[in-house]
Every structure is written in C-alpha cells, then in structure tokens.
Subunit: 428 residues, 2 copies
Amino acid sequence: MSGARRRVVVVGAGFGGLETAKALADEPVDVVVIDKRNHHCFQPLLYQVATAALSPADIAWPIRGILRGQANATVLMAEVETIDPQARIVRAGGRAIPYDDLVLATGATHSYFGHPEWAQVAPGLKSIEDATALRRAILLAFERAELSDDPAERERLLTFAIVGGGPTGVELAGAIAEVARQALPREFRRIDPREARVVLLEAGPRLLPSFPENLARYAERALARMGVDVAVRTRVVDCRPGAVETVGADGEPGRVPAETIVWAAGVRASPAGRWVAAETDPAGRIRVGPDLSVGGRPEIFAIGDTAAATDDEGRPVPGIAPAAKQMGRYVASVVAARARGRAPPAPFAYRHHGDLATIGRRAAVVKLDRLELKGALGWWFWGFAHVYYLIGLRNRLIVAVQWLWNYLTYQRGARLIVGAAADDAARR
Amino acid sequence: MSGARRRVVVVGAGFGGLETAKALADEPVDVVVIDKRNHHCFQPLLYQVATAALSPADIAWPIRGILRGQANATVLMAEVETIDPQARIVRAGGRAIPYDDLVLATGATHSYFGHPEWAQVAPGLKSIEDATALRRAILLAFERAELSDDPAERERLLTFAIVGGGPTGVELAGAIAEVARQALPREFRRIDPREARVVLLEAGPRLLPSFPENLARYAERALARMGVDVAVRTRVVDCRPGAVETVGADGEPGRVPAETIVWAAGVRASPAGRWVAAETDPAGRIRVGPDLSVGGRPEIFAIGDTAAATDDEGRPVPGIAPAAKQMGRYVASVVAARARGRAPPAPFAYRHHGDLATIGRRAAVVKLDRLELKGALGWWFWGFAHVYYLIGLRNRLIVAVQWLWNYLTYQRGARLIVGAAADDAARR
C-alpha cells in the first residue's frame, strides 16, 4: 500500500485529527485515522450534556459517518499500544500499521497538580462518559436530598463545588445554577432545589483569564445574579469525598462541604510524547518545530492539545478547538506538499479569532478581533456559532430544536439517571 | 398525613403505575410514587435505542417532570427493601412509608427458563441501560470485525442471534438488518457490513403468536427479504459466549456462532409477589381478584406485568402497555371510590384494542379490532401511533424529526459506543 502512495496515520479524531484527515481528501495519500472511541465529540458542549440540556448523540458523531464519503480514508477504532519511530509503525488493536507520516492528535486529559488521588473525588469533563457520569451525580444529589431528613446531609448534597474559573468552570457553574433554579423547583416536595449552592473556586485573581478584564467582571456579576458563589484567589489544597479544602489569598483555610465536586482546573497532554520519546513541556505537550514536526523527525507531527506550539510572536497557542483545526489544516498542507513533491509551505502561523463563553440564559461573553459582546447579544451569537459548527446537518437541527424548547419552557429534556447501581456505590 | 386523606403508595412508574398516579390527580388522596429509576421509559421503543435510531432521552422522561403539576403526588427515587402488609408500611431508600392503599406495578424482567447463567451471555431489553449496552455490543462487533484478519472470527463477530420471535424479537431483527444493510455499508473499508447475518430463533411454529397467521407469514417474508434468517420450531438449548446451541423440530441439533446474542424470549414478573407473600403463577405474576386486589388484602393491588389477570372470558390479559394502563386507571377508580366513600366500581374488564409490530422500513403489521394493515400503510400507522403516545410534546417533536431524518437519509444518528473499557472486557 505504501510505495505508490504516502500513507498518513492520524492518531486521534478530535478537532485537530479530523481536520487533518478531511484536508487530505483530495491529495494522493492514504489516510488511516485511529481513535480509541468510535465518535468525534464536540467537547465545548459537553457541559450541556452534563447538565441535561442535550443528549450525547447531539454533540457526538461517529467518525466513520464523518469520513464515509472520503475514499482515501480508513477509520480504525483501536487503542495505540506502542509506536516504533525507527520502523515507522504504529501498533494498535493488535495490528501493525506502517506510516510515512504520523500525526499525533490525542488531546489532553485532566491534571490534578500532583494529586492523582483527587481524580476519583473530583472528576472532570473531557468525554461523553464524563458528561453522563456528572449528569448522573448532579441529578442523584437532588434525589438523595429529597429522601434525607438530616439538614447537614441535605446541605452537603445540594452543594456543587467547581474547581477552576476558566470557560468550562464558568459554563458549568451557570448551567448547574439554572438546573437548580429553573428546571427543578416545581418537581420536588420535600426540598427546595433553589436552595442548592453552586461554588466556583478559582486560584487566580479573576475568572476567565483569557478574556479582557471587563468581560470577566461581567461574568462574575452575571454568575452572582444567578446565585453562584464565586471565590477567586482561592486555592484548592485537598479534595476529599464530601468536601473541598481551600486556602484564601490571606492564607486563611476554608472548607466547602459538597457531595459533587467537578474539576475544571488543569489539563495535561495525553501520553503521545512518551510513545515517540519526544521532548515535552511541563504539561506533557510535545515541543514542536515551526512546521509542527517533532524534533529530529520530520515525518512525525503533533497538533492540538498534544503540541506545545507558539504563534509568530512567541506566545503559546491556546488549547482551543479553532487552534487545533488550524494546526490540522497546516499539517495536511505539509504532508500534501511532500506527496506531490512540492516545496513545503511557510511555517505555521496561528491566527486567534477570539474567545466565547456562555454563562446562562441570555448571558455570554464574546471577544473577537475588534468586537466585544456580552449579555443577551453575546448569548445569541454564542448559540448560533455553536449550532453552526456542530458537525452534520442533523445535529444542528436537533440541537437547535432542543435549545429552543429548553429556552421556551425552562425545561431540560435529557434528565436521565442511567448507569449501574454498582457504579453509583463506587462513586459515593 | 394519613388520617385526613388516604395515602396511596404506587411502586413502579411504568405504564401502569404512572397511569394510576395520574388518574388520581383530582381525587382526595395523597399519592407517593416510588421507583428505583428517575425516569419512565417508553419500553416499546427500546429496540430503536439499541439500534441507534433514537437517543435514550427521546424515549424516557423524568417521572418528576411528568407529575410536576400534580400537587397531590410525591415522587421518591428509591429501591423498595421490604413491605410490611400488617403494619401497612413500605420500606424504601431507608425510609418507612405508610400506606392506606398499595399498588404494585413493578413490571417484569427476563426469564431464562431455568438457566440464569444465560443472562450474562444473552442480555435482554427492558431498560435504557440494556438498550445502550446492546447498542454498544452491536456497533463494537462491526468495529472488531474491521480490525480482524481471521475469516471465522469476522463471521462470528458479524452474526447476531436473537432468541424469541415475538414483537421485540421481530423488531430487533429487522432493525439490526437495516443497520447492517443501509446505515453502515459505505463506512467500512475492510469488511462489507451487508455480509452481517441476523438469525431469529423461535421455538414455536411461527413468529408473532399474538397476531393472525397471515400477518405473521407476512412478517416472515418481509424479514427474509431484508436478509434475516428466520428459524421457527427451533429451540435454544444453550447460550455460551460466541454461540447458541439449538434443537430443531426433528430433534436435530444446530449451532449458530454469534458474538452478539439477544434474549427476547421469556419474561417473568418482578419479585413484588414475594414482598407481600402473595400467590403467584409460574411466571411470578401475582394472582389478583376481579378488582385487581391481592387475595385477602383489599388494600393491595397488582397491575401490569406484575399481575396475572384475566379478561371477562377468562383469557389472560397480555403483558402490553395498553393493558397496564387500563389496569392502572381501573385501580385508581377503586381507590378513588374508597376515598370518596362511594360504591366500588364493577370488576375490571380488559378491552383488547389490537397489536402492532414494525419490521423495518415501510414494513409493519397492525391488527386492530376490525382492521388489519401490513406493509407501508401499517408502518406509517405504527409510526404515528408511537409518536402520539410518547409522553411530552418535546419527545414527540424530536422523535418525529429524527425518524424523518433517518427515513430520508438511511442514517442512524445515535451510533455512539459509550461505556468503560472495563465493562467491555467483562462482557466479552
């Protein structure tokens, strides 16, 4: 199969990997996409699955379905076991898959700052499974509170602590507050869901560090109006079942008794760097050259959250979907040039289009090149942008219908507690 | 709380229990609905979740959401531990819940005809969890076949054996054949999904015993046209990982090597009969009197799949949703008469409205009082009836949109493989 055509192996079908594969559709190469899951997940909307506004299938799409019409692409659902850079072979799912070019696009996982034991207590939000587990935890907390007669237990059950004040933390805090205050109140007889407490803990001096200060202040005010307790300059020093321990700016210790703790603080790259023995930064991301190749091996590339890349002014490229897609398109152009025997393209230059984060009903912050939006206008912009970027016509339509329905009724349709009782026992 | 108003405790929020609760909305009683899940599941469409046409939230709805506007109803998500019929107390979720009237509506589970060990190998389809586990198994079988180089392994992976030729078995067989022949073919590069084999095994002389013979024959022909191997008079004698062993009418042994085996054969009632030490039939259903009360205890009722009831001609009431709903409404009228000090209603009289089963695209069988439909007409009738009966306007709309989309594109949107790798290993 090699010989005649170059074979490009892409590991990971997130935003970056998928973009690489799609950009190679009309090039004289064979593309093999390897992913341990069968679906591409639209990660920016995971928090909406976790808070029962959308169903998993609304934000995830089978990788095969996306690439079905691309004749030069093969999809393998398999976990990578090892990579042999000398022999240029990826071992995955019991098979040896040779490559001419290799693109590592395996994304990021959570970083617990040296406390891996917190992972069990404070799960994060990176996959569909994470989202349905969190949905289950949130809904079960209200169910258990309804059954309880102990005021302290009820209070702990109805407290939701979110660690990390970036976009994910802000979006989750707002969405959980909306579930408690808008979707659930009339449904319980023994508790008042509006008494639920949502606490957003941020170690830095303000929320949303990637946004301009005035938009971050707006987000803080909007969250406060929705009843979220925002605590900045508050560092988490321990996560235990039922409580988060903190230290404030003045060194004062604090404690938030909370049954549900969510991690939205740090990420670290997947272990792709170790597979190819590459040099990585402290967050585990592979240091890449100007063409996103991995030091010394021009045929291996790293993109998206797997790569520590910088823009032309030396600033780090952020770990967001548009950046991963730009890197994916760029690497495809490098590989295509090789396949066609053309000169390589100019070095990768990241272009930052902006940042979006939604807070709640008719409240979002948007920072584009010259444009700043907040409030209702920002929210509508955010909604249209996300519906537009969802892959597949069907998902766009279904998501639009569901959002419209949720908006009009204050309801959340996907409020299902699923999963084995055994899982449940394990999580307690 | 008792004293002034009668308290009616309903255990189980399936079709029967929910109908009981809703029919008591305007009666001078307090209703407590206890269910171990937080959602009512529209079981007749579970096979559509299992075959990736619909998402779980399209056919399940939080019980609290359904009863939110009913001021006299309280919902508790809890598992029943014991019932004390002397003290008239249900123990559930660590609480003691007294009752004046008790309605047992806990449904049915699978019966493996004395072979409980088959349950692991050949799971059935009664809950949302069952449906997503089966969806995962079906989709993973294709993924693994794509990775395999061994022809025998591929064949086993691409064979789906369904045990039981009632409506569930027929619907599942047709839907799996459609996934293999219509949704997946263009997406794989190493296997041809159309080579998948779907085998429907039925011990009796024909499919769909509750339907007229001509409709059953039609179903058999329609399935054969879709490529399903229908084997009637074929009794399953063993289910092992990777194979079903059978015996034919002539005593000849047979063997179907199949990675995925689904049980759609027998059901048995939930253990509610044991809770109240009631007399049960061989399928575990509680024998009930003419007012659906449990022998000797006029304040305890059993309905739906939990009850062994007969119609006015002595024929058993079938285990279908309309029957459960009729029983639910009837028991509510008995309880309401007591609460209002009125004379009890006439004995329960079941009215059979008909039977529906869909086979595949534009193929269904419908038997109503005087009406028999098959083919495309039956299929449209089936579709409209199911959309109509789905609880909640949102679900109707979303399901209609998804079905229309699936119909127009031959696609299935909810093709997600989710669940921990550990589950997967356990299931193999």
